[in-house]
């Protein structure tokens, strides 16, 4: 077995371990039929040990991949996102050790699973570094950022548990709508994973030529059946479906197609789950969170920001600026990724001022934690894939 193969096997082990641990955590917090929670501690411990096995296996993936590529495996979308999944679990482990909260594992681990699955939709072969990335700052800057984001995401996890408990799912309200929207968006990510896996396993490809925004002829390959066509496209693949409509030149219709497929599959999946469970997804979790201490979740929400915010400042702003000064001759260039790092930072600064200065505890704080995670994910996904800039290494 080569180092690269060993590496991907370890990642696979981690994935399976997290999957098992999710269910064991779920069982631990669900309690027995009588509704007593005598076994919560014991089963929580078992689940935690499985999580630890998964985490060390994940770490093993990281180290072996580093040795296989010769550089810190943080250089493209697959590597960064996989590492984000790892630091998310790492953040959970730290907070579990502090607060012993199995319910957090039940929420965080599935999110980590989704993130790893999402990551593996991107090319995962070992890739060489372009000149701008050939420096130790790659490891220093990106690893600090990814650790900070993993910890900040825990704040959202605790916030989500808080909301799952306090939001009344039987009464129509804005809160109920948005909480369910969070659940729906997680299912859409699953839709993306399913759609991409399906079309890549079946080897779908459709080639087109089109006219780009500078008026030149270009070509593009769709990996999913083209729902939307590029500007003035011509199909080159026989038997490929005819796109429903054409987009202006500034829009990448191939990416729009991927988004539409994800929503399409995700929505079907969402309604399937709702039909089978006969309730909203957020309501499915109600029995799992009835034993949760709200005060503790609020504390974890805040504590994660307290740890994550300074780390984020250090990694995503200070180290980033130092490296940018060395590689690009300016410490700040208003590149979209930089701007979104600043937005994230400003957001958490606002979070802290609202919490400490305006007394936004509890539910408000929980919503803020979730919004923070949404911003982080936007910076990871949308800024890399949609808004192209210097950081688009995917």
């Amino acid at each position: 077995m080569t180092m690269a193969e060993l590496s991907s096997n370890l990642l696979y082990v981690a994935f399976v371990a997290y999957l098992i641990a999710t269910f064991v955590f779920g069982g631990a917090v669900r309690g027995n039929k009588e509704g007593s929670f005598k076994s919560e501690g014991r089963w929580g411990k078992v689940a935690f040990v499985i999580t630890l096995i998964g985490f060390f296996s994940h770490l093993g993936y990281f180290i072996t991949r580093w040795s296989a590529t010769g550089h810190a495996p943080l250089s493209n979308m697959f590597e960064f996102t996989t590492a984000f999944g790892m630091t998310l679990v790492g953040g959970f482990i730290i907070l579990y050790l502090l607060y012993k909260t199995p319910v957090l594992g039940m929420i965080v681990l599935p999110v980590a699973l989704l993130i790893i699955a999402f990551a593996s939709m991107f090319p995962s072969e070992v890739s060489p570094l372009i000149p701008a990335l050939q420096t130790n700052w790659l490891a220093i800057h990106v690893s600090t950022v990814v650790i900070a984001e993993g910890i900040l995401a825990i704040s959202a996890g605790a916030g989500l548990v808080y909301l799952l408990k306090v939001v009344d799912m039987n009464k129509k309200s804005k809160q109920r709508f948005w909480l369910e929207a969070i659940m729906y968006s997680l299912v859409v990510v699953m839709g993306f994973v399913i759609a991409s896996s399906y079309f890549s396993l079946t080897g779908y490809q459709a080639d087109f030529t089109y006219v780009n925004k500078d008026g030149n002829e270009s070509s593009i390959t769709y990996n999913m059946p083209p729902l939307v066509g590029m500007n003035e496209y011509t199909s080159l693949t026989e038997g490929a479906m005819e796109p429903f409509f054409e987009t202006p030149a500034i829009i990448n219709a191939s990416k729009i197609t991927t988004v539409l497929w994800s929503f399409f599959v995700g929505t079907i999946l969402y309604w399937l789950i709702r039909l089978v469970a006969r309730r909203r997804i957020a309501a499915i979790f109600k029995p799992f969170v009835k034993n949760v201490s709200l005060q503790l979740m609020d504390e974890i929400n805040y504590r994660a920001v307290i740890i994550g915010f300074p780390l984020f400042t250090l990694g995503a702003l200070i180290f980033a600026m130092i490296w940018a000064q060395i590689a690009w001759s300016r410490f700040w260039g208003w590149d979209p990724k930089e701007v979104w790092a600043l937005i994230t930072w400003l957001f958490y600064a606002a979070y802290l001022h609202l919490r400490l200065g305006k007394g936004w505890h509890g539910e408000k704080s929980a919503w803020l934690g979730v919004v923070g995670f949404a911003i982080i994910m936007f910076n990871l996904v949308a800024v890399n894939l949609i808004i192209a800039g210097l950081h688009s290494y995917a």
Partner: protein, 558 residues
């Protein structure tokens, strides 16, 4: 407004809520509260005291957390909108000026682009309103910090060991009751062991730890202000140099804005990953994307004119050092840094032609024209020569019969020549561009046949000097220190007093992490047998919850 004298005799500034010295409530509102408002120690904040003059109003506006957070949120939203379409600096237009940029947004993005440009989002970060917002944030940072820091500092400096009972029993952590005689000494001993600073006064004790953490927010705000000051300084001339230098292989040029320094480009290299040997593991990735750059490098020699030499003299420059400028490895000297930013490969350097007879294709000799410094005439011997009548490095067409050149760079060189041979002693005129020859004065017997060309690479270097970097670094460092100071430490205090009846009264306060405070107190209580304490905040919450539940039950019954 008048100063407020407390019953204890201490004179407090107007607007004080809790006496700085003994802690008595000074306002009626405060007297009726179950718990004292300890956020800023009940001090007189200017913003909460004065609201008459225009200055008061401005001060109050900027000292408000709500306003500060609103500015942060506005900046955040503006920055987010600024990433929807590319910023003007990243837009490609053939000629860069306001009109072409405006047209670009309108052409490429339609109506949305027009609005975007109109509102200044295309150059958001230099737009007046964005800079004004950042300025307001800076003012808010300063005003809000001063408004809180000054009175807080005064109060913590003036605090007395003995506090009034009404202060003690309005603290969140409170205990009263009998205790053994040695309790005070034991409590003192234990608190000291827990690293508290203990002060005694008559029948009372004040234990304090981590007061410096109260300054954390102000320290990190100072860091941010220093950072913003550094950014502002960059706009002043002299603090900041940003120049571009295109330098060809073999050339030596003066470094712009770095008087007395010269750079020689010895060689430019661009490498890509081969996918073989060491790079074999990357083969799959390289196949997928086509080609991946491995290295951009300019080997240079840095020269300096000796100090005593005349300005502009280049003949006696001295070598300072050799360096390979690569991405991530700029050349550094004297506060300057030179970066590898761009390149052009294979710029024409010289062209070689044969003078040939069109019919027999016999060559009378060859000539090489240096495209940077062409000669006027090339003598091939035997009464044969070629005169260069005109040289057009970047030929772009004819205007009124005259050949034109667009730039002085030899992208598309054109030559107007007169060829003399023994057969044609009067000379034949010919105009030559790549792959084309024009004979303006009639059919010629001879022509210049292109043989080969010599090329060289051009490096695009950026020269930077940024004297504000140390200031920015200092700002960042102070910010991080302030954040750690405020977030990872907390200010804990205990007041203990022996009552006349022999019982003890105890109060505890922390600015955050009550759990930690209680853990400390548990240890002290056990060691010194203090009366059991209650968390009054939790008591109040419990009662409220109980009331709510009773109300709910009542609703259900009725």
């Amino acid at each position: 407004m008048e100063k407020m004298q407390c019953k204890c005799g201490h004179v407090n500034p107007p607007g004080t809520i809790l006496c700085e010295s003994c802690g008595r409530s000074l306002t009626e509102e405060e007297q009726n509260k179950k718990l004292a408002d300890m956020r800023y120690e009940g001090t007189a904040r200017r913003s909460q005291t004065y609201n008459k003059s225009i200055i008061d109003k401005i001060w109050n506006f900027f000292s408000s957390v709500k306003v500060g957070v609103s500015i942060i949120v506005l900046l955040l939203i503006a920055a987010a909108i600024g990433t929807i379409l590319p910023q003007a600096q990243y837009v490609n237009v053939p000629v860069r000026n306001d009109a072409t940029i405006k047209a670009y947004y309108a052409d490429v993005y339609g109506e949305i682009g027009k609005i975007y440009h109109f509102l200044g989002f295309h150059d958001l970060y230099s737009s007046a309103w964005f800079i004004i917002l950042v300025g307001m944030l800076a003012i808010s940072l300063i005003v809000a910090s001063l408004d809180r820091f000054v009175p807080l500092y005064r109060s913590l400096k003036n605090q007395r060991v003995l506090r009034h009972p009404s202060f003690m029993n309005k603290q969140r952590i409170y205990a009263e009751g009998p205790a053994p005689e040695d309790s005070m000494q034991k409590a003192e001993e234990k608190l000291k062991a827990l690293k508290y600073k203990v002060t005694l006064d008559k029948n009372g004790l004040l234990a304090e730890k981590g007061r410096f953490s109260r300054w954390g927010p102000y320290v990190n705000h100072i860091g941010l202000i220093i950072f913003l000051f550094g950014v502002m300084l960059r706009m002043m001339p002299g603090f900041y140099v940003d120049e571009t230098l295109w330098i060809r292989e073999g050339e030596t040029r003066a470094i712009p804005d770095a008087p007395g320094y010269f750079l020689e480009n010895k060689n430019f290299t661009m490498e890509t990953y081969t996918g073989e040997g060491e790079d074999a593991k990357f083969e799959e990735a390289i196949d997928r994307v086509g080609s991946v750059a491995k290295n951009y490098q300019t080997d240079i020699v840095l020269y300096q004119t000796p100090e005593e030499s005349l300005p502009g003299a280049t003949d006696e420059i001295e070598e300072v050092k050799e360096h390979a400028i690569r991405v991530n490895q700029p050349l550094k000297f004297d506060g300057y840094a030179v970066y590898q930013m761009d390149f052009r490969q294979n710029e024409l350097r010289a062209m070689t032609f044969d003078l040939t007879n069109k019919e027999t294709e016999e060559s009378l000799g060859s000539l090489t024209i240096d495209l940077v410094n062409p000669e006027k005439s090339y003598d091939l011997g035997n009464d044969t020569r070629v005169d260069l009548l005109g040289y057009y490095p970047d030929f772009s067409g004819f205007e009124n019969g005259e050949p034109q050149t667009e730039t002085p760079i030899p992208n598309n060189p054109g030559f107007l020549v007169r060829m003399f041979t023994p057969e044609t002693p009067d000379g034949e005129v010919s105009f030559i561009v790549i792959q084309n020859t024009i004979e303006p004065l009639g059919e010629n017997q001879y022509k210049l046949t292109f043989q080969n060309a010599e090329t060289r690479d051009v490096s695009g270097l950026t020269i930077r000097k940024d004297s504000t970097l140390p200031i920015l670094g200092l700002g960042g460092l102070i910010f991080m220190i302030g954040v750690a100071q405020g977030m990872y430490f907390n200010h804990r205090r205990f007041w203990i007093q022996r009552q006349e009846d022999g019982g003890l009264v105890l109060a505890g306060h922390t600015n955050k992490n009550w759990y930690g405070l209680k853990k400390d107190l548990d240890q002290v209580s056990e060691f010194a047998s203090l009366p059991p304490y209650i968390d009054q905040q939790e008591e109040i919450e419990k009662q409220e919850k109980l009331k709510k539940e009773q109300k709910l039950e009542g609703d259900e019954l009725s």
